[in-house]
Subunit: 705 residues, 2 copies
């Protein structure tokens, strides 16, 4: 008889924490230093730790497993309460770094709070920033208090019931009434009902409405208007109908709604008019370039790449810690009777370690693209303010590059993060299916990232098309490509069947792997160009190629930024560990995943692929295995941030998980609330009794007479 | 101004139902006849329609979109009520066909009811059937009423908190107390807590417990015991602790629980002793073959293949109907101003039509394997009863084949169905994320099928290993393989780099496609065998190959049964339409998905793959396009069975969806229950006021003195 923990056992109980603690004691690098790398800068890493602690200790923002038991109504309520709490932190006016860190971490620990605030601060104010004059921006954002979640609460009225992606086809109208100097906002039919509008159902006071500008019967296309939905007593305005769109697959804490406008009047100057203006007389000044007004969604896309990094890191940590602690089946070679740690199986390493690599590689790309968008939008704002058309055109070029990079990165990263959550869940077996281990809600909350602010498939198509066009321009017109597409300038040289990767050394050399991806993208694009030409220029025929191009372009972006970052890394002692993950990413996450494409375009030989699958990748995994706990500890997630019973730092999987289950579902309650009814059904009288013996032979003999 | 439906519109509203009805009017084959094919027999199809109607009209079993709004507590309650209702139908003693059809359809329309009943009728009684004597079976099943969900309610106590797959390693003990002629059931420590036990938390009265048989200190391995959990008043027995494991990713209507036994006594004859027996004196008779006792889980695996067919069909129908009705972006070629139907985009066809093919191909395999298991288990029972060891050995051979076929089919089909639900959801954009369109709950309910009753990865490994062994036996020992592995006998002939598919005609010839898959499996297995040999016989090193082998083996099974079935089809006029789907399956679902393997093993050339991707598959999709409504109508799902607002038969997507949203979330309620609190926060006093002006400069000047 042994006494283990707080319970008496009659045989030795499993001791998963010993495995994890033992591995932790063997750390070969310092997880805290690694965290500086992952968060890009030491000061970011420190802000991360401060904010996580602040959130964790806050009585309203702190979370635990009971979060997974909340009903939709409870989620809505707690989300609203948390928004109010975050507003108080915003008013304290800490540094911008702290504010962006808080946003980013809210997206991790309670994504519905993150989103519901993001709709206001990101989309609503982003739309005003992108389309309004500086005075309009100041008024709605600062004067009115919106930026502090005060007085006003904005929502973003773009999508309609029958129109999602095709913004130019939206059907809500904004008709100029010259006489009264007003716009009349109207929903002409059910299909034009604003739909999915986050915050509209109950929180929003105002909406940034995308509507067709109609002046004197002429349709000037879709512009943006600030339309009040509720008055200062939070009552819905006349002519405005809002409703709750109800239950969703996830993020039920967000009050997504629908809006119909029935001849709603707003003052002319509620139109956002940085680029497009309507004068008192109804003269319309059109924007120099329509693209300028589409920046509102870019910020969200970039944020989603950061979210992808953090969510991948979170679920890889949970699944890997579990795989270190969990034992399954015996190995003949082991004499002590203990079963083998899950993570010592090569297949399990193959299943999970690529997600560890994904988290590390995404981290660098996420910080990079975050930095790029800030710079690009700030420069654009400056150039617009200076009315410098040359500089504006240059900014638009940068925006185009950012569009391609962010569209491919957003779509690829959010898809791969969904895969990660799903595969990590499966790797934890049945325990992954328990709500208390976090995977279920996370998956449901996450996957909308693949759909909103640009459906991934459509975004991917929108990346494939310009790349195929660019390759056509290079080959047919000798037109040079710039910045992130410059590699296409070698299209002619690449347009062979030459093998690019010829040896194990090649495969492990990240620079060669990067060239291989460049050549592959180019060859797919050249093939795609041929198909387009054969189909009279119809790009719809190269959907599959566009998809592959977009994904490979994203991998190229992430991996090349990762390689660059390692070369500049001030914590050089981390580099061997970082390099190994990069090699796994290149081989397992890219080459193996696109093996059909790599072989089909002769980038490598079947023999080398075979070598890769059967030797190289297993070998890299084996080398990564001893440092798994250090790699995952490097994300510096507290138990609060992970919110998963089987993923806690101490590795005491079973006690933690059982403890959560028992706390939230006390076993002193032995009957369900509906038990009496169920018992009656189970112990029901016989069928004959219930049929009042009417179907008995006796009854038959009577009734037949 | 036009009046559309029941609302007044100021501009023409979208008219999706016109598209669907128009396409339906062009049907080139009869969906009802096609349904006979899909349900294997006309009488099955008719039972399907009768039972669906019966379920739909039943006041307790009928479902609508309000189902998606239920909390966990409500789901639990309604599930229990539905079980009681199903019991009444069972007592009516209709035909076995009706009963299996009802089970199958319950798994579709309310899978948690299906499962919660299945735990009792399938797992509990299946375990008793597989391990108990005929008298034991009759007693627990018929005499006590369990088979009618009466008096007794059984659960299946296999998995433990620290042991899932490794049944032989379970740690619950059943110690024989010779003096009192009883077994003492005991949970030695937390890790041996029975975990995930469906029905244990609140419904079950008895449990089929897997426990180690200990007699006179000797451990005879894991056997099965019937252990009462609750008395006739439904109170938990002394020594038994049960608890609710709480919230899950899905299927919250099932009361999964945990059980600990603290020295619980049961009579000796509560042990199931068809094979293993313990005499009054404690003499143990061991079973002739341990495998004989593992049949309980096979039935569930086979059922999951049928579920895969129906769920794939359901979500393909919803997504395809939506894609016919939904319009997006304009095509330059269209002059009427209407946008293009989503399904007219080649990429959208590529995304969805393979799932239509999957449903059709799965249907045939599901019926086939269902038939095989019934036959195999019945024959085994007969042979065991006759004590004919030769015949028993033959049955065991058939069981082994069934094990491989069902393990690869279950794992592959459940994974692909999860993909189907997920991809179909994504293809519906934001509307796919609404709970009311069915995808969210379906995905959450579905994915546990990939984990339970044999984790898919482990099942796949368990298929790869014997196939690699078999190829070794063929090549090294010239040992002939039988039944579904007979194709491996040509291993020597296949072990070349010869190209198998050389032309478009080859690719479209299903017989050639089947040989190509056989050759591919063989070549991967040969390569795997080499790796195993190089690694001293360690099969853990060929996890990735095993996974590929298992998936390809499943495709081989499904596609070959499909081809066979078409050749025997009495409704010959359907064959051209069936053939086309088979061709799409072979090309898009198999060759393209495994393009790395097909190229890597030279089954086809990169040029032919290019042709396949850019011409053949798009061409098949184009040819399937006009019949999509007929193909999906052929599943004969009523709106009740689909339970999806955007997937209804009439195609009136927007009115149906908006109607559901408004009914379930009345927009006359304009404020959330927590609105007052939120309004207070939004209209909060200034920070200075809330700080009682203590941080003002005035206060500073006072306090600094």
């Amino acid at each position: 008889m042994t006494v283990a923990n707080n319970t008496i056992d009659s045989a030795p109980a499993p001791n998963p924490q010993a495995s994890i603690q033992h591995e932790r004691s063997q750390n070969r690098f310092d997880p805290e230093t690694m965290h500086y790398f992952l968060e890009s800068l030491k000061e970011n890493a420190e802000a991360f730790k401060t904010i996580i602690q602040q959130l964790e200790r806050d009585p309203i923002l702190g979370n635990d497993a009971s979060y997974y038991d909340l009903t939709k109504a409870q989620q809505r309520e707690i989300t609203a309460r948390r928004i109010a709490r975050v507003a108080q932190y915003l008013e304290m006016g800490e540094s911008p770094l702290w504010e962006t860190t808080r946003t980013s971490l809210l997206n991790l620990v309670d994504s519905q709070v993150g989103t519901r605030i993001g709709v206001n601060l990101g989309l609503f104010l982003g739309c005003i920033r992108g389309n309004g004059t500086e005075e309009q921006r100041n008024y709605w954002s600062t004067t009115k208090g919106t930026e502090l979640l005060k007085n006003l609460y904005g929502c973003f009225g773009m999508t309609e019931l029958a129109h999602g992606l095709n913004v130019a086809g939206l059907e809500t109208t904004a008709t100029f009434d010259k006489e009264r100097d007003q716009f009349i906002i109207n929903t002409p039919h059910i299909g034009a009902t604003k739909w999915w509008i986050g915050g509209a159902a109950h929180s929003a006071t105002h909406c940034a409405v995308y509507a067709r500008l109609i002046v004197d019967g002429e349709d000037y296309g879709v512009k943006t208007f600030v339309v009040p939905l509720r008055d200062s007593a939070h009552n819905v305005m006349p002519g405005v109908t809002v409703g709750d769109i109800g239950a969703k697959m996830g993020r039920d804490g967000i009050d997504n709604g629908w809006i119909q406008f029935s001849h709603v009047r707003i003052p002319r100057f509620f139109m956002l008019q940085k680029f497009c203006k309507v004068s008192r007389e109804g003269d319309v000044t059109m924007p120099p370039l329509e693209q300028l007004s589409y920046s509102a969604l870019l910020g969200g896309r970039v944020q989603m790449v950061m979210d992808s990094y953090r969510w991948t890191a979170r679920f890889a940590t949970i699944a890997l810690r579990y795989a270190v602690g969990r034992r399954q089946f015996k190995l003949a070679s082991q004499g002590d009777g203990s079963e083998t740690q899950l993570l010592n199986y090569p297949l399990h390493q193959r299943r999970l370690l690529p997600y560890l690599a994904q988290a590390y590689v995404f981290s660098v790309g996420a910080w990079k693209i975050d930095h790029t968008i800030t710079e690009t939008l700030d420069t654009l704002d400056k150039n617009v303010a200076a009315e410098d058309m040359g500089a504006i055109m240059k900014s638009i070029e940068d925006m185009k590059t950012l569009f391609i990079d962010s569209a491919s990165a957003k779509s690829t990263a959010t898809w791969l993060t969904a895969d990660c959550i799903d595969q990590c869940r499966q790797s934890c077996g049945g325990h992954g299916y328990s709500a208390y281990n976090g995977f279920g809600k996370a998956y449901n909350d996450w996957v909308v990232q693949c759909t909103w602010e640009g459906d991934n498939s459509v975004l991917a198509m929108s990346v494939g098309k310009p790349i195929i066009r660019a390759v056509m321009a290079v080959l047919d017109l000798g037109k040079k490509q710039k910045s992130s597409l410059a590699f296409l300038n070698d299209a002619k040289k690449f347009n062979t069947k030459e093998t690019i990767l010829t040896s194990t050394d090649d495969v492990l050399d990240l620079k060669k792997a990067l060239s291989a991806i460049e050549v592959l993208i180019t060859r797919i694009a050249i093939q795609g160009a041929k198909v387009v030409t054969e189909n009279d220029g119809n790009f719809d025929t190269v959907g599959a190629a566009s998809l592959a191009i977009s994904k490979l372009k994203a991998h190229l972006y992430f991996l090349s930024e990762y390689v660059k970052r390692i070369s500049e890394n001030e914590y050089k002692e981390m580099n061997p560990y970082l390099l190994k993950l990069g090699q796994l990413y290149a081989t397992a996450n890219v080459v193996e995943k696109f093996s059909g494409e790599f072989l089909g375009h002769s980038i490598l030989s079947p023999e080398l692929l075979n070598e890769l699958t059967n030797k190289i990748v297993p070998q890299i995994c084996k080398e990564l295995r001893p440092d798994v706990i250090a790699y995952t500890d490097s994300f510096q997630f507290s138990d609060f941030a992970l919110n998963s019973s089987i993923g806690k730092y101490d590795g005491n999987i079973y006690e933690n998980y059982f403890g959560t289950v028992k706390t939230l579902n006390p076993h002193s309650v032995t009957k369900a609330p509906y038990s009496a009814e169920f018992e009656l059904a189970l112990n029901r009288p016989s069928l004959e009794v219930r049929d009042r013996f009417e179907k008995s032979e006796e009854a038959a003999s009577i009734l037949s007479k």
